[in-house]
């Protein structure tokens, strides 16, 4: 079975500072990885995904993530955060071509 571990449950960060959210996965087969964001009172929105090819994936709103097979990681980064980036972020792995398995989430709180 595939699983995801998000290493930080809460990440406070100041506005315009960089942020990194850590995600590790376990999988014995080909890996397809995703980051979703959940703003307060909204549904999950896809930030970016890795299916194949370049290990550095760029997503929406200035986010990027790097797939590292040797470390089984898919960490999410943003060089400069805004207040509007306050949200919960979920890392997920796809199995059976359709089943997403999510981590427990990381709450990012951006302070002025």
């Amino acid at each position: 079975a595939q699983s995801v571990t998000q290493l930080d449950s809460q990440v406070p960060v100041f506005e315009e500072a960089p942020v990194e959210l850590r995600c590790n996965y376990s999988s014995s087969v080909s890996v397809y990885l995703f980051w979703y964001v959940q703003y307060p009172n909204q549904g999950l929105q896809l930030l970016l995904k890795y299916l194949s090819g370049s290990t550095l994936v760029k997503g929406i709103n200035g986010f990027e993530a790097e797939f590292n097979k040797s470390q089984t990681s898919f960490h999410l980064r943003k060089p400069s955060v805004h207040i509007s980036d306050t949200a919960e972020y979920f890392c997920a792995v796809l199995s059976n071509d359709y089943k997403l398995s999510f981590g427990a989430g990381t709450t990012v709180t951006v302070r002025a």
């Binding site: 995801v4 397809y32 979703y36 009172n41 909204q42 549904g43 999950l44 929105q45 896809l46 995904k49 299916l51 979920f90 997920a92 796809l94 059976n96 071509d97 359709y98 089943k99 997403l100 398995s101 999510f102 981590g103 427990a104 989430g105």
Partner: protein
């Protein structure tokens, strides 16, 4: 265009009652998914529909849970004899055809509270 919609947004019921949760996927999407998100956790897979049929219902916790999609569009998740442990946010998602490259688009969820 319109995204995935779910009704009701909130549902409060009493232990032992029956509830139905509705999902309207994005028009033209043949694949539909239900997930459940308990407090402090990530969403957990419940069931996957391809068209009208349930291709994988391995995530349904027990036989009190059932889901249908009779015309290949709207889906209803049905929970019989609700228990307090069923309290969670139930998320629906749809994608164009299912498969690795498809993006799953999520609705805002239905928050179910069982008293």
């Amino acid at each position: 265009g319109a995204g995935v919609s779910q009704t009701p947004s909130n549902k409060v019921t009493e232990k032992g009652k029956y509830v139905e949760l509705r999902c309207d996927p994005i028009s033209g999407h043949t694949a539909l998914y239900w997930y459940r998100q308990s407090l402090g956790q990530g969403p957990e897979f419940l069931i996957y529909f391809q068209g009208t049929g349930a291709a994988d219902d391995s995530g349904l916790p027990n036989d009190r849970f059932f889901a249908v999609r009779p015309e290949g569009s709207v889906s209803t998740l049905k929970i019989q004899r609700t228990e307090r442990g069923d309290s969670a946010v139930y998320l629906c998602a749809s994608s164009l055809s299912g498969g690795t490259a498809d993006t799953q688009y999520f609705g805002p969820g239905t928050r179910l509270t069982v008293l």
